[in-house]
Symmetry: C2
Subunit: 201 residues, 2 copies
Amino acid sequence: METPTMQNPTTTKRPARTPVPMNGVDTPTLFATIGAVKGQPELGSFQFRATNRWQQGTHSRTRIEGFSGAGGEHAHAREFSYDADHPAVLVGRDQGPTPVEFLLHALASCLTAGIGNIAAARGVTLYEVESTVEGDIDLRGILGISTEVRNGYRQLRVSFRIKGDAPAEKLEEIVAQSRARSAVYDVLTNGVPVAVSVNAG
Amino acid sequence: METPTMQNPTTTKRPARTPVPMNGVDTPTLFATIGAVKGQPELGSFQFRATNRWQQGTHSRTRIEGFSGAGGEHAHAREFSYDADHPAVLVGRDQGPTPVEFLLHALASCLTAGIGNIAAARGVTLYEVESTVEGDIDLRGILGISTEVRNGYRQLRVSFRIKGDAPAEKLEEIVAQSRARSAVYDVLTNGVPVAVSVNAG
């Protein structure tokens, strides 16, 4: 049976064994970071930001540059820029994926980042983690054809294939723990208040 | 006062005037598409997909290639690929934005695509649409330090600057209508069921 600290890598207790870097995770620094935020909770307050500019039609471009957190302002290693558009079948020009496809990317990448960290914290070497995400949506919502159909996805399904030097059950627990601590999974399943303001003229 | 069809570009009635392409939107085809889905509701059933592969640490890469809808299978004009990671301050290597930043991109680009379409449907020429999105998050949730802090964003704020050949009030109505029909806004504010399955070994 695992110790409680092995069950949850994000415990604030010291892990049962000395954490070592693995899976590309600097595990000692990860534990030190958790300890620092525990000692100074205000270090955990982050603000992420994006700036979007309309190009034409349904095509727009978002820049992601800086964020605040851990008591200061940070810039990403480089500026990230992403296009989104509608495909031809939805009367766009396919200059990027649709906005709803980026939700699938956000979900898969958040769960997978957690799996990387949690596996390292539990001393499990990962060989491979792959996931597919599917989202079902009835466009009669956004097209305004039916008021009984919601605008967004009806449901999302994530399927993981995971291989590592641990029994299947332990790998499954790592995925379960990642879901239990995923920021994107939380936002998508529970929702978040969104305020929209407009400066027109 | 506007006619009902001018209020909602996604009405299934014929617009009061002949729609013309504008803002890069093929407005006649947009109305024809809405008419087609109204006549054959099953055309509105879409499934979007993404495939993600873990790279190392918190770094993963998502491919977005095909989707189904409008009665068939479709490929994007090209394969889209996106990296996500955690920044150094969160013990990652900053090989891409964080997953939660992609939520901001999804939200801004969805609302902006709607603005492009709705303005065209209402005969408004857009000059400029820019938005910033901010998300507040307390990382004590995902770090497992506090069970009272949620994992995801506490709140999101979207601020639009919009310019076009219409009074401010009409531009504001276009933004409001986009929000009312946004797939991403719906998912983020109302949540969606997410099923996670694992094939381990």
